[in-house]
């Protein structure tokens, strides 16, 4: 293992020039095997010279809302006197930190879905979000999606989705493709 990690001063703290953000580690594993892998990975990172780790109270899973702190705490215990752990009692308000579609690994897993959406987007000169909304709109004439946004460009983009129209054949093609496709879990509302 190389041990040439550079260091920098973060205020009065001396830390590795590259730190390790640990949030993503908590959203992937359900099985303990994965937890073991992440524990191993953290040990290896110490070996490589990483000594600055970022976690937060709110990085967690449905099963364990403080999963990330628990993981990082356990994994780094043997090295505790050598590493700096940053955690946040962030006004724990960003629900996306626990949504499975944003978990690490989900992006990879959803590539076939993105490919499907992009194909229809290209054919209709539409954006991917417009394809998703237009597909919803195509399901019933009385369905009205309400995508939220903080940005003007998306406000326009989303309004434009109602002008993207799919034929019955296209909708069927999308549905068939979706039925046979592997995807990550997706947040489906609070229980």
């Amino acid at each position: 293992m190389q041990k040439t990690m550079k260091h920098r001063n973060l205020g009065r703290l001396q830390v590795s020039a590259v730190g390790l953000g640990c949030m993503g580690m908590s959203h992937t594993y359900g099985a303990t095997a994965d937890k073991r892998e992440m524990t191993e990975l953290l040990a290896q990172s110490v070996d490589m010279g990483y000594d600055f780790f970022d976690t937060a109270e709110s990085y967690g899973t449905q099963a364990d809302p403080h999963d990330n702190e628990n993981l990082v705490g356990q994994a780094l215990k043997p090295f505790r006197n050598r590493v700096v752990i940053a955690t946040k009692f962030d006004p724990a308000t960003d629900f996306r930190s626990t949504m499975p579609q944003f978990a690490s690994g989900s992006f990879e897993k959803n590539r076939p879905l993105f490919a499907l959406i992009n194909k229809f987007a290209a054919e209709h000169q539409a954006t991917p979000a417009q394809v998703a909304l237009a597909w919803m709109l195509s399901k019933k004439p009385w369905i009205v999606p309400i995508p939220g946004t903080r940005s003007l460009s998306r406000l326009k983009e989303n309004a434009g989705a109602a002008d993207v129209e799919f034929s019955a054949d296209e909708v069927r093609a999308i549905d068939d493709a979706l039925d046979g496709m592997e995807m990550s879990d997706v947040f489906s509302g609070l229980k």
Partner: protein
Amino acid sequence: MKYRNLGNSGLRVSAVGLGCMGMSHAYGAAADKREMTELLAQAVDMGYNFFDTAEVYGTPESPHDNEELLGEALKPFRDKVLIATKFGLRFDMESGTVPYPLITDSRPAAIRNSVEGSLRRLQTDHVDLYWQHRVDANVPVEEVAGVMQDLMREGKILHEAFRKLPRRLYARLVPFAR
């Protein structure tokens, strides 16, 4: 902008509505009020006429932030827009966990209390579409529907709706259908 009839409500709404939750709730710190006020005016300008909020969209510091934002921002357009809001749910923001644990409360007195609060914050005399946010296991659905009907008779809400209602409970609402 295209328009559609929403469900069987008789409401004529823009084919795409605007969900406003993310401006105040669940996605970290609330967005800048002035910017969002401007964005909401631009939405109206573009033809959006259907805005979704809830009593509980807010932060620990400002628990009703979203209704307050909409009330102020949509005031100049109130007669042109339809506002949907929701009652019967609180978030336990003190727990330190996300998503916040939910607390349901649809007792008639709570609903009454909620509707008055929403009307005040939304700066209006009526809610166009009033949702029960979550079923309350302790209050029969008929009792909730009864209060909603009273609120409709009083003109405080124009339409009622129920979120996440288990299928078996829908049947019990049939006698209330107009």
